[in-house]
Amino acid sequence: MSLAALAGQEGAGAGFHPVLPWLILALPLLGAAVNGLGAFLWRDDKRIPTIVGPAALLGSFAVVLVNFIGMSGAELHGAEVVRLWSWIVSGDLSIGVDLQFDQLSMLMCMIVTGVGSLIHIYSVGYMRDDPGYSRYFSYLNLFVFFMLVLVLGASFPLMFVGWEGVGLCSYLLIGFWYENREYANAGKKAFIMNRIGDAGFLVAMFLVFMAFGTLDFVPVLAAAEGTLAYGGALVTGITLLLFLGCTGKSAQIPLHTWLPDAMAGPTPVSALIHAATMVTAGVYLIARTSVLFALSPVSQGVVAAVGAGTALFAASIAIRQYDIKKVLAYSTISQLGYMFLAVGVGAFTAGVFHLMTHAFFKALLFLGAGAVIHAVHHAWAHGDDHGDGHGDVHHGDPNDMRNHGGLRKFMPRTFVFMWVATLAIAGVPPLAGFFSKDEIIWYSGAYGYPILWGVALATALLTAVYMARLMVMTFHGGNRTFGHRGAAEAGRRLHEVPAVMWAPLAVLAVLSVVGGWANIPEALPLLPTVEWLHHWLEPVFAPAIAVKEAHGFSPEYRSPVGGGEALWAGISAAIAIAAVVGTVRALSPKPVPTEAEAVAPTGFARVLHDKWYVDELYDRAIVRPSLALWRACWRIVDAGIIDGAVNGAGRAARLLGWAGGQLQTGRVTTYLVAFMLGALLVLGVLS
């Protein structure tokens, strides 16, 4: 197939047929295989991974783009399913390796391969000096492969393949520098916490199969309304279990603690996996099964409440973090909370919209942070002739914002791009985040959740504050990389990152600006693309919206305290701008202590700094008791009771044998008595 054939399709304006669907998956997989082989065979040759890694992604992106264009020109209602081969067939259960092409999956593919390509290119610069270069690209390509399986999978189990596959890659990449015990632990923690959610996903699948007799999305979603009672226990159970899976994958309360630890991985990984793509899989899952969620108002409420709660909770922690990546990690959790709020209240498009814009600006923020870390790390490393080695002991943590400051002078491009992303996430018009976040806030009010609406607004304020704080601490004021008086040395050693790294930043910056224009609200018709995304996704979400409307859930176009969409858009924009300006004003004059000089915060600030002690709580309440129980099982039940019984039986047999042996005195008389008695017995029986 080629573009010409595609043009033919477009001309026909009729059905959509995916072009080379398998290639979308095959290219990243091939890349992973080649790079993986390279990790063993040509470990020191960096040319092949440099080419193969990004090329696999770009190729995949190209195929996706062709299909995306083809789809936009075609009339497609429902989904186009392509079967590659049949996978698990047993009795009445039949699961194929089927790829589902619809507007939602194509949009996600665009995000995954597009942002993924940029991050691959960036990685070429970021990971240049790493000895595990080839292995890194292998994992990264493999991740994209699994992410695409997740997105394109046409059935619950196939999606689950991607779902756990990305978890695996996340595990491998978080623990990429496996020699550091902390990093390896973080990877393990991520995998296990994800597995808790995955167990929920699995049980949800079993329920779906019980109810529908199939696990393919298309028939399940089509039959959902007829099969499951609205608000019934079954659909609520299914959706809540699915949501349990989402909380694991998307780091929502109560399974959120792995994501901040996951920052142990290389920064581009954080950008790709832990910001732009994998962690949004939960949102994607809910969007994919929107009909099921629409059928259960209880689940919807739970999703929305957990989302809003997580958003506020994580934002509060982000305010008091010093590690630049931790701030962004909590920011990600918070933004994911927004997305769940959106899909929870029923504004599925808004959720996906925020997913998209978030992918742009959060990837940009992470890559920018990576650039900063890269620069600081190199500044320190070069002075010491200390080639590799991560986390330089002489100076401290390159991630710590107290070791940054005033980087504006040394990294002007990064500085600009980061500010673009900051304004975007803070919700300053006309950048991407303004449109997407505002839509979520608006709909949460419009669908009649006043408390969640208030929480969302408060979170918006906090978002602007912590992001502005991050920018001030990193780029403004005086430089602290070499202490307060190390300006000269800093000038010599701190440099802007190479083009291969800032170029992707530039692209993402552009996307962070224009990304929001994909779905201009009707109330603010500033551009001709009014509600474009809404229309694009309509075929996917129409059934769910229909279900909700049939049961009286339709948005009232006013906020809980009155006022229309345009007014409240203005108000939230004003809040964002005011918060950003106020924070910059408030923090800029204050001198920041370096990491070495810092004193531990006290009071409530300390609670926030220590992340509300959730990790400690889990450790005391779950991890340690579990381990104690497990040890008891081993030592007491297994070695004590069961083996005790077994060995006891053996000992009893031996005792019996010993007792029998005592009869054998070796004296003739004993034997004679026994013999006589025996003879007596025989005679007695005879007589």
Partner: protein, 541 residues
Amino acid sequence: MMALYDGHWILTALVLLPLVGGAACLVVPEARAKTVALATTLVLFALSLPLFWTFDTAEPGFQNLVSIPWIEAWGISYAVGLDGISILMILLTTFTMPLAVAGSFSYIRRRERAFYAMLLFLTTGMIGVFVALDLFLFYVFWEIMLIPMYFLIGVWGGERRIYSAVKFFLYTAVGSLLMLVAIVTLAWIFQDGSGAWSFAYEDLVSLELARRAQLWLFAGFALAFAIKVPLFPFHTWLPDAHVEAPTAGSVILAGVLLKMGVYGFLRFGLPFFPAAATDPVVVNAMLVLGLIGILYAAWVAAVQPDAKKLIAYTSVAHLGFVVLGVFGLTTQGIEGGILQMVNHGISTGALFLLIGMLYERRHSRAIADFGGIAKVMPVFAFALVVVALSSVGLPGTNGFVGEFLILVGTFRTHPWIAAIATTGVIFAACYMLPMVQRVLFNRLDREENRALTDVNRRERLILAPLLALILLIGVWPGPFLNRTRASVEALIEHVETRSASVPAAEPVSVEPVSVEPVSSDAVSVDAVSIEAASVEAGGGE
């Protein structure tokens, strides 16, 4: 060549070949024994492989059937055959053996002739168990297996080898003796009804036993099988046997021997005693024991300091899943169970091989003695990670397909048990990942570990087919599931119809025979079912 496969003699050849090879091992020079053994097992594998293609997937009954009278006075015959339940087990055995032999090349340094002879004699026993269709013959093979295994552990084992070997032997012998009683009783009941002795599978499976008799006889069989599986709380022989056995012994133990318990349930337990096997109390008891096995073994595994013991406990957990699938009594559950047995053989066998390779280099199995090995043994690390992921059932590997089918199937009949069992996937991660981390990752902080050499070519050749199968079954399990389908569906059909028509023991106190609502997929199997028997024998007279 094809005539061999049509002509039914192939199974006999598979049984006899290792015997001949083992005898040859004993007489050749010490240094040649391993070559002879490897050649024998490779030929065996090559000989068995075409079975996979010549197997008729539409036929639920036995294929390649041979039945020759042996001890006619007692109705004992040499009867062998294979069906969808046994074919994968046979192939798993013949596949595992060359790997086990090759994996012992540098591990076994003394009494090599006897060692390889024992391995081959063991092979005869294992294949015999899977092909035997006469209960007496089955029992003979079942017991024959014990002897070489006893010596493998007791002679070439670790420090506590004698204790472990005796424990293994006694544990399994206790179970199998009760099974012998049950077998003889079955034959006696048959003789009582028909006037002639018979131990033939098809004769005995056609017996219409009273409910009470079924329960007792099932208990006799079930204990033997439960010990072999091993089902909680009969599992404590396994960790000891695994830890002390040489690598090949562990591989075979995990790869093949543990399958015999579940195979026994499928081959004898369910079809012979359908009313007992569908009795709610029995089913729930088995499921709960399987469930306890899954969770409990995972917990105990998570706190083991010894890598081999950890893997041994994971076996208990995996086999718990299999038991769950079998007693869920659905097509998916049983097919998944059979597939999971294959998967477990591959992945756990591979884990034991890998730990064995580490042991050869470092003479330690303690997890704490390692760390950072990935740095010096990258290929080893890759293999261990893939195998570990297969063991935790990551989708895309074979482990997932089996576990998924088992859970889906069991969920239909026993949703709560299956739902709780699903948490087993969490604990699987809890035991496997820390082990992987503490062996492969973290800092390479021990001087002894710096000098470790990566796996050599022989070891790579051993690991390659295992890794390939892990991925192949993970993405394309179709051919494997295909071969089990007809037999499994016929088995379920048989159990359902026969458990519904079971006569009660005493006509006075007729209990209603409540049958579990087995899978709704009423696939009508009209073809030849297992009971092609002509003799109708009543049990109650």
